[in-house]
Symmetry: C5
């Protein structure tokens, strides 16, 4: 899993059937570098995260388990948590994060 910030959303009318009705968020990894240089990930969202929120993204089977069912879906990244609070001492990139900001 990684920590990411929701930066947007995409829509696709031609898509795998399993993606019907699922939000596809664009999420940027949070790290120690200056922003905007990290390849974003597209994650299915069962939790209703908003742009700007800090989230935990899981990959693979975990992402499918997060949606319930038998785990056989045509996606492999999902938002499994929306971070309210964190404690990451001495890492500037986390300082000041207060949830939803």
């Amino acid at each position: 899993m990684f920590l990411g910030k929701v930066i947007g959303e995409v829509w696709a009318s031609r898509k795998a059937k399993d993606l019907d009705g699922k939000r596809l968020l664009v999420v940027e990894r949070v790290d120690g570098k200056s922003g905007g240089e990290v390849t974003p990930v597209v994650a299915a969202d069962p939790l209703g995260a908003d742009v700007g929120e800090l989230v935990v993204v899981a990959f693979g089977k975990a992402a499918r388990v997060a949606f319930g069912g038998d785990g056989d879906f045509a996606f492999e990244a999902a938002i499994v948590g929306i971070v309210d609070q964190g404690n990451v001492p001495s890492h500037d990139w986390f300082e000041g994060y207060k949830g939803g900001a």
Copy 2:
């Protein structure tokens, strides 16, 4: 999953049997860096994407589920959506994307 742009296609006459009749697209990740420096991915395409289109690529079992069947195929990357529209505010690399461009 990641956001990519279809940049081409490859053909192989010697290949794993499961790849027979499947298009193999070359897809470059979309990110904040200047183009052309990112290692491309080869993805099987069940949706009929064209060069220049923005797509969502899924990996692993998800890629195989996108083709239906029992999920046991000799590939692990597939196009699961062709992006028509997106909303990724304040990220230049996305601005101006209108689908198929």
Copy 3:
């Protein structure tokens, strides 16, 4: 698996059900570069690691096996070992690590 240092913890009230009651640690990979530039990972923790400890993080099914049960959980990274001791000759980044430091 990779070697990481626990740098913090995050909390999420909206989350996948499987994450209830599990600690979510933020872990930075240990490597030869100057710190703070590596994208951190979020790992579920069944062992009770503290901030500053050196840990071994496993991904995928292995992470779920570390928690016992049937392996179908909505996470794919977990702490599977807390390093007490190591012998990594001629690599400065490891020198001086004595456990828990």
Copy 4:
């Protein structure tokens, strides 16, 4: 999957039983950067690729499926296609590739 160029082969007398009799090729990802800086991958080869050929490499279960059988082998990267031809317009790194060169 990714596009790679076969750059060599390795042999191991002490190895997991499943690797007996399988060729282990060293493959470098093809990308837009100057060569020689990308970490190579070791892939099992059921197709008989030669040094210098452009190949499609698959990971995980897909790699094991490419060898047939029940998919439980001690490797997770295999050559699933040998590229004869490609069309990747406006990408210098692909121009001039004619198969086997």
Copy 5:
């Protein structure tokens, strides 16, 4: 799979039960860059590799298959081959490797 050089070993007294009695080697990927800058991997070792040896590391289920049994272990990286010999023409980083050096 990737080519790596064994650079050390770590020990953990608090660990997932499946890791009991397994050696945990620290392995650095072999590539075209100057050494010491690549994030090392921790791999379980069923073959008895020594520091300085060149090895093939496999991930995921493959790593667990290498240890036999039912494949449900709390690790996902293992040494599946110890390289005796290789032929990787025109790549300086491989030249001169004679096994165990």
